[in-house]
Amino acid sequence: MSKLIEAHRARNPRLLLFHGLVGLLVAFLVCGLAWRQLFHRGLYSERERLQNQRRIIVPGPRGNIYDREGRVLVGNRPRFSVVLNLADLRGELRTEFVKIVRNYREFPKAERPTADQLETPARTAVAQRYLDQINVILGRSEKVRPRDLKRHFDQTLLLPYILLDDLAPAEYARLIERLPVTSPLQVYTSSTRFYPYGSAAAHTLGFVGVNDDPTVEDFPGEDLLTFKMKGSLGRAGLEKKFDAHLQGETGGAIYRVDPAGYKVDLPIEKRLPVQGHNLTISLDIDLQLAAEKAMEGRVGAAVALDVRTGEVLVLASKPDYDLNTFVPRLSHEEAAQIEETGGWLNRAIQGVYPAGSTFKLITAIAGLRSGAIDRDHSSVICPGFFMVGNRRFPCWNHNGHGERNLAGAIRDSCNVFFYKYGLETGPDLIAAEARRFGFDHPTGIELPAETHRMLVADPAWKEKNLNEKWFPGDTANLAIGQGFLDVTPLQVACMVASFARGETLTKPTILHVADRPAQHTAPIGLAPADYAAILNGMEQGYQIGTGRLARIDGLSAASKTGTAQKRTPQGTIELAWMICFAPAENPQIAIAVCLESQEPDTSFGGGVYSSPIVKAILEAWKYKQDHPAAKAPVFKVGP
């Protein structure tokens, strides 16, 4: 019977049709499966990869900045934090969540919070439990901020959650000894900028800001969901100018994650961040500190250059700010305070001022080169004023200097001499001489935001820009560095260095290169005796003239002081200038100092107010010359 049924079934055409249909459907499924598995394999693998992998980007620490003698001016300070690895807490988080949900069971359904609303308290409670362990060890009473924790879960779940930041070394030591190696709590290190000298050379060194989007090159997984740790970006000074050089090499890791987003294994791919390149700059921190100390409470700038190479030894601007207040970020109060004091401005390269009597060197050179001044015969009898047309131009010494030749006029900074011979030389030649010394363009120093507002005015400029005629009075003003003239203290320092070398241009540089070759530009174009006459006046100025307050025993120097006036919205302020180079017979250091008086319409002479700063720099420089640092023997450590 059963055999009959089997036979019947086997021959039944309806069953055959059914079998065929099933076979067709199975074949269709198999084909579909094969199609997806064999031909679309790459697509599904890629989707799986994108879903299961996450990338973390870790910026490398920035390079250090050293002064010319290898002292760290800007470095990195380790920053110790205690972090919570959330991936290790999944079980605890779930248990806590369930516990909280159970507590709400008594509530009517309408009043029960949603699951999303209950997640945050559950997470906070767990994190607080761990934070309490830390509180016990460190004797603190810190609290977890639910909002921060929620943001971390929503945005950066893959990264450890920072419970406490910037621990003291003793706290960090306690934690590494007390926390078990396998604990979800771990001590994490990152780096932050550190400025050992605080506010010294603040404008030159600059500061960094937070970079939320650090870039990474040649690291796989660009298409993966990426978490980026905050990096830093140079915002001012050398930190900004050399940002690419200082910036560390970004590292990263790719982790496999579970559906909830927690990492489940060791990284699939990992690259360690590498510190950026170091930078050695030309500043001498001893001289810089000496200048800044002498400038305490003043407003202005001081610049010192290596005469031979043009390397900047001092670049100080006051008021300034403590760079450490920018770490990790500057508070609104501190920013407001810097704003109020005018501390943002780097007066050495951004402040433009009339050069005052320091410009008389240019007038003298122009006069000598043009023949308007004769070093042996040109002289005036200074009665304390000079009449240009019917306008009276005063000398700073209202009682008059008496008879003065070129050297004497430079020594005593006699305005009358320069009014007279400036007018004879003419504005075009004086302006051309100023341009020859580079007063009409930025110096090109490797610092951001050097001003372009410097101005060497001549009749053509006045005609073009003010649509006014040039008057002899304008020439008289120009001859003593007043009127429309505007220069930066760095430009003046460059002029001093150039003059000291007997040349016309100095290209300043903030970068230090050992054995940098001496600069050589166009010669000054004066007969040696003419050059000596100016030099003689400057030397006398340093010894017995207006710059005598800067005099140091045992050091010969040449100086020139100046007092200029500048109109400001608050009234006319005086500017105390002093330029100097030393030693006079073999110039090595050139200095320019410019201070602003802080009250309008008060006397603020360069010889009185700027001399102490020049003296402080010269003293520090001479001390280093007399006591050269002993060179430590170099021992080779390691292979």
């Binding site: 620490p61 007390r178 190696v181 780096s191 961040p273 510190q275």
Partner: protein, 278 residues
Amino acid sequence: MLPKRFDQARPFATLGLIVLVWLFVPLVVKSFTRVTFFEAQAPFAAASSYVQDLQEFWAMRVRPKNEMIEAGRDLARLNASYELRLQENDQLQNEILRLENLLKLPPLPAFRFEPARVARRDFSGWWQRLVIRKGANYGITVGAPVVFVGGVVGRVTEVHAYTSVVDLITSPTFRLAAAAEGDPRPVSYQGGLNDSFRAPRGTVEFVPLDIYATATATRRLVTSGLGGVFPPGLTIGEITMLEPSTDGLFKTGEVRLDERLGSLTEVTVLVPLNPLEL
């Protein structure tokens, strides 16, 4: 009667069943079983250790009298030199105390010294630990530092009625705040993966960049005392290699530990007098 095939698989089925049941046993029961098992083992470990001590004692007794007299004389000399050092140490301690008082430094946590014989050594790739013959009966507490004549041995991780387990300094789970000798800045010392036939080693991290050490010019690593568990100045080992980490912030390196750690017979537990201070 069960079919033959199932009969053969019965041991595996039973094992599987036991494993399954064990999985669902509450944690408290599991913990209790583990502790009980350890306590049951303790008398055997202690007895074995006592027998070994006895064996050593009788091995000493059969030595010739002259040799013993000579050893006794050497010991007397050694004792005399120790006595001298103790007096020097007293003077130095008083000086340190005077300076600490001048600087108004807070007192260091005080300890009671509890010598203990080693009952068992467990050295494997998984853990590196000792079982000592003193436990809660001598007031030993979890976390107490353990030292020997060569410096740090480890830290007590488990305390039982008559025995304690010490996590050795060589263990990868051991970490403490250390310092290069003569430098106050704390660094992190951690045990490494030590196999049985290799000189014990550990790793040191977060070492400041201006500290140098090589295999030929080693630097002693000591406890910093900042961690609050170990008193300062105890020898950990010799730093034999340091290399800068890629981030340029620190150096990391290797520490060579005392080879006697592998054959310790007696250690001293520093039992804190006031555990709350730690």
